[in-house]
């Protein structure tokens, strides 16, 4: 499942984890996971809330100690050399923790100083970052007056002030409206094109598909699968999915009959998902057997289906 070992494809490994564990009392948040992130990767942790993604991110960010296993970031153990590791990370936490009482510009400045960067360097960088985050007109505005999307872009800009080797984004677009999400994805995609190593957690499958070359599907602290988004879909799902609704009572009633007609079905409270490589024909067959759905939809398989297959549950609950 994982690609531990000599650098895959000649790429330099930046993060190597083996049997990584984190326990809080009786609760196991991360349950012995292995993974490797190489330079230039755009690596995603996909899973529902509570899957252990953020915990894993905090261990990588050298701000949370592990309970077991081994991990190195840039060849260093975070428990021994935390500050040296953090010097090369750009961290975008799940909740913005900007300084609300300072201006946009001052937030970038102060953060740059924490990396020991010179005033001259930071002032030059601020111009670039404001342009990158499309916040030039807001430079003198206090953070508390910014919209959610702007704050998020500022948090990302802030994380880039030190030109980090690895940019870590924990749920980068949760809580943003669709337009703000697309602007953010565009910014992140640019970074990816520039070769910045990205580490992203998300419970949005579209986000994972857009931004990640490699995905680790997590649930209950374990790795369920790891591959590229396209390969995950190929391995764990069919080409297409037929969604049919018969009304909440009758969905379950037809389940056995539907199951015999295709590779696999999932009965959800409001609809039945039928997996097949040719769903138009499948729909035709369903109707010809006298089962007339109130609505039907043929779509291509997504990571949501992969997740459903692997865990029996939806990503966003």
């Amino acid at each position: 499942m994982s690609t531990i070992g000599p650098a895959a494809g000649g790429k330099e490994p930046l993060i190597i984890a083996r049997g990584l564990r984190k326990e809080y009392g009786d609760f196991t948040a991360v349950d012995g996971i292995d993974f490797q992130v190489n330079r230039g990767d755009s690596f995603g942790f996909l899973g529902p809330n509570g899957a252990g993604k953020s915990t894993t991110m905090r261990i990588i960010a050298a701000t949370l100690t592990r309970s077991g296993g081994d991990i190195t970031i840039l060849g260093k153990d975070p428990e021994v050399r935390g500050p040296e590791i953090r010097a090369h990370l750009g961290v975008v936490p799940q909740q913005d923790n900007l300084d609300n009482s300072l201006t946009v510009e001052d937030n970038l400045y102060v953060y740059g100083r924490y990396f020991g960067l010179s005033k001259k360097f930071i002032h030059g960088k601020i111009e670039e970052l404001l342009a990158f985050a499309q916040l030039e007109e807001k430079r003198g505005v206090k953070v508390e007056a910014l919209s959610g999307g702007m704050k998020r872009r500022l948090t990302i800009a802030r994380a880039l002030v030190s030109e980090p080797e690895i940019l870590m984004l924990d749920e980068p677009t949760t809580g943003l409206d669709p337009q703000a999400r697309h602007i953010l994805w565009d910014r992140l995609f640019r970074l990816k094109e520039q070769g910045v190593t990205l580490l992203i957690t998300t419970h949005y499958m579209d986000e994972a598909e857009q931004l990640c070359d490699r995905l680790m599907v997590m649930d209950k602290g374990r790795i369920m699968a790891e591959d590229s988004p396209a390969n995950l879909i190929k391995t764990y799902s069919t080409k297409e999915v037929l969604e049919v609704r018969f009304g909440s009572d009758r969905n379950a009633q037809f389940a056995d009959q539907l199951r015999s007609m295709c590779d696999r079905i999932e009965v959800l409270p409001d609809r039945v998902l039928m997996y097949s490589d040719d769903c138009e024909t499948l729909l035709h067959n369903v109707v010809s057997k006298g089962m007339q759905p109130t609505t039907s939809l043929v779509r291509r398989s997504s990571l949501e289906d992969v997740f459903l297959r692997l865990t029996g549950r939806s990503l966003v609950e």
Binding site: T63, A87, D99, D106, F115, A131
Partner: protein
């Protein structure tokens, strides 16, 4: 819209980790001071108005009554002279505690700024040190202004009385660092800060021999004074200011008490800052 890409040499090239390990506390203090400078006029106003109010009302008003009833004033000097070192210490200790504890709430709880700092190479210890350093910078400013006011009002005399400034800052720092550490340790800290203000700072102010010598109080109330850094600062301050009688042993005791409070305070603060950031 044309958007220029970011220039990039990479953190491995541009960041000097050893420098951050050395100067991190200064960076934190710099950020805190930048924050405080937004309120510079109210800080200046408070620094000037505070001694004026106290000196005019208590020092001069009450002093007139006290002096008229006791031919030699208090402790052999005018009431204002007796009061001055205590007022200076009380104001600076209160200011330091406020300035060292309020950012702890903000940093851990309200805005979570400490977690943002800790995502950089900055360590928990450096955050604690930097917050304290910024607090003491502000208090030093207030202390100098207060001392100048005392001087203008004739409450302190001579060059030797300048020693009151480092003494007061030492006392303020000792209590501030301890309270900062306790504040970091306590979960329900909003309530805690209120309690500190009402049931700790106020009684210390009143029962530390500030307005009359501690020995004129009943024994059980004297105990409050003994525990209070304010009393220790006041005793030494009176010795510095006008030669208030004090034995070598007592002097050693006062300094040791404040020194131990400082050391314990730093231990507690460092421990709990690191622990709380790792939660």
């Amino acid at each position: 819209m044309a958007i220029s890409d970011l220039t990039r040499r990479g953190s491995l090239q541009i960041i000097d980790v050893a420098k951050i390990l050395r100067n991190g506390s200064l960076y934190v203090a710099e950020a805190r001071i930048r924050n405080l400078l937004q309120w510079k006029w109210s800080i200046v106003g408070e620094a000037v108005a505070n001694p004026m109010f106290y000196l005019l009302s208590i020092g001069i008003g009450i002093g007139k009554i006290v002096n008229s009833h006791q031919s030699v004033g208090v402790d052999g000097v005018k009431y204002l002279t007796f009061l001055a070192p205590a007022l200076l210490a009380a104001t600076c200790i209160q200011g330091a505690v406020g300035e060292a504890t309020h950012p702890v709430l903000e940093g851990f709880k309200w805005q979570k700024g400490f977690f943002a700092m800790n995502a950089t190479p900055i360590t928990g210890k450096q955050i604690a040190n930097g917050v304290l350093l910024a607090a003491m910078t502000r208090v030093t400013f207030g202390c100098v202004v207060y001392f100048s006011a005392l001087y203008l009002f004739g409450a302190v005399h001579g060059l030797h009385s300048l020693w009151l400034i480092p003494l007061t800052l030492f006392a303020a720092n000792s209590f501030a660092v301890l309270m900062m550490g306790i504040c970091a340790a306590i979960k329900n800290d909003d309530l805690f800060l209120n309690m500190v203000q009402r049931f700790l700072i106020m009684p210390l102010f009143l029962f530390s021999g500030t307005f009359y010598s501690l020995s004129s109080m009943p024994k059980f109330l004297q105990i409050i004074g003994w525990a209070s850094p304010l009393w220790h600062a006041t005793e030494v301050g009176r010795w510095i200011s006008y030669g208030h009688h004090i034995s070598h042993g007592a002097l050693l005791f006062h300094f040791s008490y404040m020194a131990i409070m400082t050391i314990v305070g730093f231990k507690v603060a460092h421990h709990h800052f690191v622990k709380r950031l790792a939660k």
